[in-house]
């Protein structure tokens, strides 16, 4: 990591002060928002594992509240999201034609809702007032669907957005092959994964199990997956008695620390850093104009004219009819058509493959395997569609940014008016616009979090429930008893087989169709919100640009008008400010450049 969060935050605060001093509250606000976002990433902490390993108990013990359902027998079938809230509240989230809908739940009704999902219920959301969650962490208690089924694919897909994945196993046995496999797959997409061994109160051999698990993890090269032994029973007693040492033995304080640090570590300061450098460039621009005017009143007029000209062009960008708006909406609609076409083509191919598979087998006998395979492939496909969508949206955003850059070149301030030492950072509005770092600039940030965010992937979890809910063939094994020979029975069996294959085919098609409908809806929703986010983001930047130029024009004006006696003072003030901006810029550059260099050094070292 190139810069610590604290350093970048300090830098941002300094820049915020300069911005408010220079009459740019809009820029100050942008940085404030970005800082807040950095400190409270709404990224999920996933709790995954085989069923009946104590996932829900772990979430409850972590929070010190009965949030998730714990039962000896029943397991939850929909994910439970735990978020921060001022009062305890629960709601069930469904996806209907109007999109995501929250319906308030009686707290007691939660249990029923978790075990017997109502139609279209995607997840249960519970809000509790807890400091651990106040940082923005969202705990996701995943349903116990078994790790080997399609739920496993979704777990891995969801893990990519997670700040931390807690894999839950228990002290009664060492890791199984399926568990180890999931850890390996999750670790490949999420940097922080930890293994929690629950129920250590039940056996004094938990240290042995821990040792064995460590061995299994190391054997697969998973050295950085930490293991935390925990006991929900001890935690409960410890909290009730306010017994610190006992609490420490329960393992939960360590787990809490890890959740917290993962939430913070998951926030990358580079996003904020690029925002800071962007704002800094605009401020520098403004100050250089003022400085130039103060140093050389004669050229101030020329500068003023150039700036006014630039301002009118910036104004054109701001207008609703601006060309970039067209580029954006064209790009998004093309995207929607392409993505849908691709999805359709893929699912059709899958349908054909399913049919071929079904024709080769007796669905009655191999239905479960087939169903798992169909679900898994669907899950993989939906995740792939999602990934492609993110990639192509980036392309559209880049095209719009290019358009801005093109307009920005016309806005560039003549270079001969620059005074003072050559700035270390490209300083004109032009370059800063051309350099829009897509995710970093704040324009697209919101849009991407809408897609990548916890909810998108949790919704995919929800898809599993919809497969499972479909009425499918009775998984009956047809056995012709050895005592029943004869042609009549055989014929009957053949007829039955044809009919079963037919049933299986239509059931598979049903599942694929359902996935198609849901995925199409999901695609459209995501694209719509991305479109809005991008439009608002770019419009905001156009507005900012306009304000920047306004301020620059005003500054030149003021400086030029000010009395000769004041001029020396003004110049001194501007010089001091310029020096400050310079210093800030240098530190930003140092932080930006530092990272790759350090990495390179480490690489050669290794």
């Amino acid at each position: 990591m190139s810069a610590s969060i604290e350093t970048v935050r300090g830098l941002a605060e300094a820049v915020i002060m300069v911005a408010s001093r220079s009459g740019r509250p809009d820029l100050a606000e942008r940085l404030t928002t970005a800082t807040d976002q950095l400190l409270s990433p709404r990224r999920p902490v996933l709790v995954v594992g085989e069923h009946k390993k104590g996932k829900s108990s772990l979430v409850n013990a972590l929070l010190g509240a009965d949030v998730c359902l714990v039962d000896d027998d029943m397991t939850s079938v929909v994910p439970c999201l735990v978020v921060h809230g001022d009062a305890v509240a629960a709601s069930v989230v469904t996806l209907g034609p109007e999109g995501e809908q929250h319906a308030t739940l009686d707290l007691r009704a939660r249990k029923a809702a978790l075990c017997y999902p109502i139609d279209n219920a995607r997840w249960i959301e519970v809000a509790v007032p807890r400091r651990l969650l106040a940082t923005g962490a969202v705990l996701v208690d995943t349903p116990g669907g078994g790790l080997t089924s399609s739920a496993g694919s979704f777990t891995v897909a969801a893990a990519r957005t997670a700040s931390l994945v807690i894999v839950v196993t228990d002290a009664s046995q060492e890791l199984t092959w399926a568990e180890l496999d999931v850890i390996e797959r999750v670790r490949a997409v999420c940097p922080s994964v930890l293994l929690a061994i629950t129920k250590t109160d039940l056996t004094h051999h938990w240290a042995r199990i821990l040792e064995l698990d460590r061995g299994h993890l190391d054997l697969r090269g998973l050295h950085d997956v930490a293991i935390v032994p925990t006991s929900a029973v001890l935690r409960r007693v410890a909290l009730a008695r306010d017994d610190g040492p006992l609490d420490a033995r329960s393992g939960y304080p360590e787990l809490t620390d890890r959740v917290l640090s993962a939430a913070v570590a998951g926030a990358t300061p580079s996003v904020l850093l690029s925002q800071v450098s962007d704002v800094l460039a605009q401020l520098t621009e403004q100050h250089q104009a003022a400085q130039a005017a103060a140093n050389d009143p004669a050229s101030a007029r020329r500068l003023g004219e150039a700036l006014v000209d630039a301002r009118s062009r910036a104004d054109a960008l701001r207008r609703a009819s601006a060309r970039w708006q067209q580029v954006l909406s064209d790009g998004i609609s093309a995207l929607a058509v392409d993505a849908e076409f691709e999805l359709r083509a893929q699912l059709r191919a899958q349908n054909a493959e399913n049919d071929a598979t079904i024709d080769a087998i007796d669905p009655a006998r191999e239905w479960d395997g087939l169903r798992a395979q169909v679900e898994r492939r669907l899950a993989d496909e939906l995740v792939a569609v999602h990934d492609r969508l993110i990639a192509s949206t980036s392309d559209v955003a880049r095209r719009v940014a290019d358009h801005f850059a093109a307009a920005g070149i016309a806005l560039s301030v003549p270079g001969d008016l620059r005074v003072g030492p050559a700035p270390a950072l490209p300083s004109s509005a032009t370059t800063s616009l051309a350099d829009i770092e897509l995710v970093g600039s704040g324009v697209v940030n919101g849009a991407f979090s809408a897609m990548r965010g916890s909810y998108g992937s949790v919704m995919m979890f929800g898809l599993v429930a919809s497969f499972a809910g479909l009425a499918l063939i009775n998984p009956i094994t047809i056995v012709a008893g050895i005592g029943m020979g004869g042609k009549a029975v055989m014929d009957d069996r053949d007829r039955g087989l044809t009919q079963r294959r037919h049933q299986a085919r239509s059931a598979c098609r049903g599942v694929v169709d359902e996935a198609m409908t849901t995925a199409t809806k999901h695609l459209r929703d995501v694209l719509r919100s991305v479109h809005h986010e991008l439009r608002d983001g770019f419009a905001g930047r156009a507005e900012e640009l306009q304000q920047c130029l306004d301020a620059a024009v005003a500054a030149t004006h003021d400086t030029a008008k000010s009395a000769t006696t004041d001029r020396a003072a003004t110049i001194a003030r501007l010089d001091a400010e310029a020096a400050l901006l310079d210093r800030l810029r240098t530190s930003v550059v140092a932080l930006n450049v530092g990272a790759p260099e350090v990495e390179r050094r480490e690489a050669t070292h290794a």
Partner: protein, 499 residues
């Protein structure tokens, strides 16, 4: 009625003559021996489901070694033998006896220069009364981290190459039903051979105490879970029923000593709140402070915990203090009952043991079909035809197949009819009263009347014009089953019936 097994013996002897001196001859000789051996029951399940512990509980002795980590790595047979010995059978080469030692944790041995992968099975002969009626086969866990170990269990029970599996029946131990459990069971029940599970497979919810996280009422929870699994349509097609068993507790009950009782007493004598504190978690209980407080060494506590589990200790202490239990015998009996092992023993004795003939016959016929199936010489063809005839004419086999079909196939019967049919075929127990669904003390007249009305009912059902061929066939088999009971109801009449 002719004895099915006698017929099969004759058939096997005849084929042995044909194939004498060849590999097939050896296979037939093995089939012939197997026919007269005790029923072979394999104990299968995922890793750490509690298979070895359950085996020990059934044998009422600690012979299969258990451990916190994965422990059973070989397919191990435990059978009755007057002289204790362990023989290892390599895949190739002669079986060789091996040096073993027996201590409080079971029978252990060292394979020496043999690679575990080279070993087909280890056979332990041990003098034990429970082993006289069943040979028990301990298997490595499915879904092991070492996949070659899992494969050993699978190839032994359900060989890929079409060979007959080594077991006649299976006790499948699970903790919670997991998709890989179902896969394993399905692999063991290749449907095309009519080889199916409700007939010979019993599910056990092992480590039942842990389902209710070692609370005093843990067993009630486990019973509820087991009942739900037992009603699950998918599981019903794979095993007869699901019984909850706290294996560790059953093993402890069978091996309880006066020393154990003394330690448990000293715990029970402590202050109630203090005991709760000491038993809060396992680590506290085996710690130095707790041990010195109880006046025993930490090693004693650890051994006690290993043998009883937290739940067993809580339960024993509870009974010693409040339940009026005084002697080791009483405590052992209470623990035994609470563990659920007796229910499992009942199922094995009342449901699996009476099916011995059918299970043995099926294994032998399947093996015979493998030997004579591919060859086209005249004697083999005649033997195959004779076997076919035997299968078609045997009412016992027809009943067995129907019992399976009831759960796995749509026979066009109503829910009520299915229940009645399963009962009549001995699904709930093989005693005549159980099969007829009458009071065990009912008179001979009552039994006969009930049996006759059953016969009448299924005959009429067979004649319904709306039947599919499968329904008609099922109803005919059931009517014949009823007829057999009419004949037998007098023979075993109770005293009440004769008066």
């Amino acid at each position: 009625m002719r004895d099915l097994l006698d017929d099969i013996r004759r058939l096997l002897d005849a084929s042995s003559l044909v194939h004498a001196g060849t590999v097939d001859g050896d296979r037939l000789a093995l089939l012939r021996t197997r026919l007269d051996e005790p029923l072979r029951i394999a104990i299968a399940g995922r890793v750490k489901a509690g298979k070895s512990t359950l085996l020990n509980a059934l044998v009422r002795d600690t012979i299969a070694p258990t451990d916190a980590g994965e422990c059973t790595r070989l397919v191990t047979w435990y059978r009755h033998g007057a002289t204790p010995r362990v023989v290892v059978h390599p895949r190739t080469g002669e079986p060789r006896p091996i040096v073993y030692r027996k201590d409080a944790t079971g029978i252990r041995w060292d394979l020496g220069d043999l690679d575990a992968d080279e070993v087909d099975r280890a056979v332990v002969d041990w003098p034990s009364v429970p082993l006289t009626s069943f040979t028990l086969i301990d298997t490595p866990g499915a879904d092991s981290i070492h996949q070659e170990i899992s494969r050993r269990a699978r190839t032994a029970l359900a060989p890929d190459d079409g060979e007959v599996g080594i077991a006649d029946a299976v006790v499948y131990v699970m903790r919670h039903v997991h998709s890989s459990d179902l896969r394993f069971l399905e692999a063991f029940a290749p449907a095309e051979r009519g080889w199916s599970s409700p007939l010979h497979c019993v599910g056990v919810l092992g480590r039942a105490d842990e389902i209710g996280v070692a609370r005093l009422d843990a067993m009630e929870t486990a019973a509820r879970v087991a009942e739900r699994y037992g009603a699950d349509p998918r599981l019903r097609t794979l095993c007869a029923k699901v019984v909850p068993v706290a294996g560790l507790l059953a093993q402890a009950a069978a091996t309880l000593t006066e020393d154990d009782l003394a330690v448990l007493r000293s715990i029970a004598a402590q202050d109630r709140l203090r005991v709760d504190e000491l038993l809060l978690d396992a680590t506290t209980f085996v710690g130095e402070p707790a041990a010195s407080e109880l006046g025993v060494g930490p090693a004693t506590c650890a051994v006690l915990l290993d043998r009883f589990g937290l739940w067993g200790i809580r339960l024993a202490v509870h009974w010693l203090r409040d339940g009026g239990v005084a002697s080791a015998g009483e405590l052992s009996a209470r623990l035994d009952e609470a563990s659920g092992i007796r229910a499992l023993q009942r199922v094995l004795l009342e449901q699996l043991a009476p099916r011995r003939t059918v299970l043995k016959a099926r294994a032998a016929l399947a093996g015979l079909a493998l030997v004579v199936g591919d060859t086209s010489d005249e004697p083999s063809r005649r033997i195959a035809a004779r076997a076919e005839q035997l299968i078609a004419s045997s009412h016992e086999l027809a009943e067995a197949s129907l019992l399976v079909d009831l759960r796995t196939t749509d026979l066009g019967l109503t829910e009520h009819e299915l229940d009645a049919a399963e009962r009549l075929l001995g699904g709930a127990g093989h005693d005549i009263a159980q099969r007829l669904g009458v009071d065990p003390w009912s008179t001979r007249e009552v039994r006969e009347t009930v049996a006759r009305s059953d016969v009448e009912r299924w005959r009429r059902r067979a004649e319904s014009p709306f039947n599919s061929p499968a329904t008609t066939h099922a109803a005919r088999v059931l009517a014949r089953a009823g007829e057999a009971l009419v004949g037998r109801s007098g023979a075993h009449g109770t005293e009440g019936g004769e008066q």
